[in-house]
Symmetry: C2
Subunit: 212 residues, 2 copies
DNA sequence: TTTGCACTGTTAAATGAATAACAAAATGGA
DNA sequence: TCCATTTTGTTATTCATTTAACAGTGCAAA
C-alpha cells in the first residue's frame, strides 16, 4: 500500500511550499502569469536549484524557457497543503498578538478560517474583537465541538499557557501553535509547534554581534 | 589565529541555547538550583542526548548525579549569546503586533532593550506606545544613529515593508527581523530573518490534516 | 566494601537537507 | 538549418544535524 506521495516530502520543503505560494501570489497580483525558478529563489533568499528540487518533489513541471505557470503552481500547492473542505482555527487570548494575527490573516486564506476567539477577560468575551466573535474560555468545549475546530493558536499570557492548552486539548484541538513564552505539553496525537519571539530576536542579535 | 570558539557552534544549537535559558529561568523561578539533561529535554520536546551535546559544544560541564547548575548555565549562555554592553532594538510599525512584542519583551532581557518605535501614523508618532517612545518614520536616521541601534523589528503592514526596510538599512540597522507577510531585500552585511505567521499556521494545519 | 544505578561526556554512525553537476530540450539568432 | 543560450529536471555528492553507542564516574544501598 503506498502512502499518499507527499508523505515523504521533507518538512523543510513543506514550509517552503507555503512560502512559495505567498510569493507567487505577490507576483500574480502584479499581473505576471509565469515565473522562473531563479525569480522565486530570489524572493525567498534561497537557490534556484532548491526551488526546482522542491517542485520536482511535488511533481510539478514547468516549461523550458518559459518557467512555471503561476496559477497552476498556486493551485497545485493548494491541493497539497490545504484541506479540500477547509479547516477552522480558533485563537486563545485576544490581546495584541491575537488581534495582530486575526488582522494578518483576514482574507488571505480561503481554506483556513479563524472562526472564534476565546478570552477570560469579561470585557472581551461575548463581543466581536477584530471582527471575530470572542467567547469566554468556559465555552471552549462547546464551541470547539460544535464548529469542529481542530487548530488553536495560543496567544494568552505566559502564566496561563499550561491551563489554556489543557482546556484546548480536552476540547478536541489537534494542532497547537504556541506563541506564548512558556513551553507547553500536549499528548502524542496533538501536533505542537512552539514559536518564541524573544528567541528569534536573540538570534538576530547574536548574529549581528558575531559579524562585527 | 583561532576564531572565538563558538563560531563553529551549529545554528540550531544557538537557537536552542536561547530556549534553554528561558526554560532554565522558569525552573529557577520555581526555586530549583540544578537540573538534569532529560528535564531540559522534556521542556523543549527534544532528547536528553541533544541537550548534553549542545552543552558540551559550549564547554559546560554538569556534575554526575546532580545535573547542571541552573544559575551557572544561565550565566554561561548569557556570556555566549548576549553582547556584554547590551544591544538596542527598534520596532518599525506600532500596530497590534508591535505592541505585542513590546509587552512580551518587557523586563525579560537585560542585555537587549527595545528603545524606540517608529510609525507613519501621526496619531502615534511623538507619543508613548506601550511605554516606548514612538517617532515618526522620517526621524529614523537621526534616532538610529544617535542611539546606536543596530537591530530592527519590522511589523508594518505588508505593503510598506520594502520601503521601510530600505530606510532602516540606510539608517544603519544591521539585523532585521521581518514579521511582515512580504519578503524583503537587504544588503549582504545585514542579517535578515523572515518569519511568516501564516506559513506557521499553514504548517500546523497541514500536519493536522496529514495525521487524520 | 562492593555492586548496581543514574547520570554525564564524547566519539561514531545514521539521517536529513542543501548543493553541485550535468543531461535534455526549447528558443532565437546567425 | 544549425548553433549558442537559457532554462528545467534529476542524480550524485557534500554538508549539517541528530541519534546511537558506550565509557566513565559518583552515589546509594546492601
Amino acid at each position: 500500500m503506498e502512502d499518499r506521495f507527499f508523505k515523504n516530502i521533507p518538512h523543510r520543503t513543506i514550509e517552503r511550499l507555503s512560502q512559495y505560494r505567498r510569493a507567487l501570489q505577490i507576483y500574480s497580483d502584479k499581473g505576471k502569469t509565469s515565473i522562473f525558478s531563479h525569480q522565486i529563489a530570489a524572493l525567498l533568499h534561497i537557490t534556484a536549484v532548491q526551488v526546482r528540487r522542491d517542485l520536482m518533489l511535488i511533481g510539478y513541471s514547468g516549461s523550458l524557457r518559459k518557467g512555471y505557470d503561476i496559477n497552476d503552481l498556486i493551485t497545485l500547492i493548494g491541493e497539497l497543503i490545504d484541506s479540500p473542505d477547509g479547516q477552522k482555527v480558533a485563537i486563545f487570548g485576544m490581546g495584541d498578538l491575537g488581534r495582530a494575527i486575526i488582522n494578518y490573516f483576514r482574507g488571505k486564506r480561503e481554506k483556513l478560517k479563524i472562526v472564534a476567539g476565546f478570552d477570560t477577560n469579561p470585557e472581551k468575551a461575548n463581543h466581536e474583537v477584530a471582527g471575530i466573535h470572542c467567547y469566554p474560555l468556559e465555552k471552549t468545549a462547546e464551541i470547539i465541538g460544535k464548529e469542529g475546530i481542530k487548530i488553536g493558536i495560543l496567544t494568552v499570557p505566559g502564566d496561563q499557557a499550561d491551563e489554556t492548552v489543557r482546556i484546548m486539548v480536552e476540547a478536541g484541538i489537534k494542532g497547537v501553535l504556541n506563541y506564548t513564552p512558556t513551553p507547553v505539553e500536549v499528548p502524542d496525537d496533538v501536533y505542537l509547534e512552539e514559536y518564541n519571539m524573544i528567541s528569534s530576536i536573540e538570534k538576530v542579535a547574536f548574529y549581528v554581534k558575531e559579524r562585527q
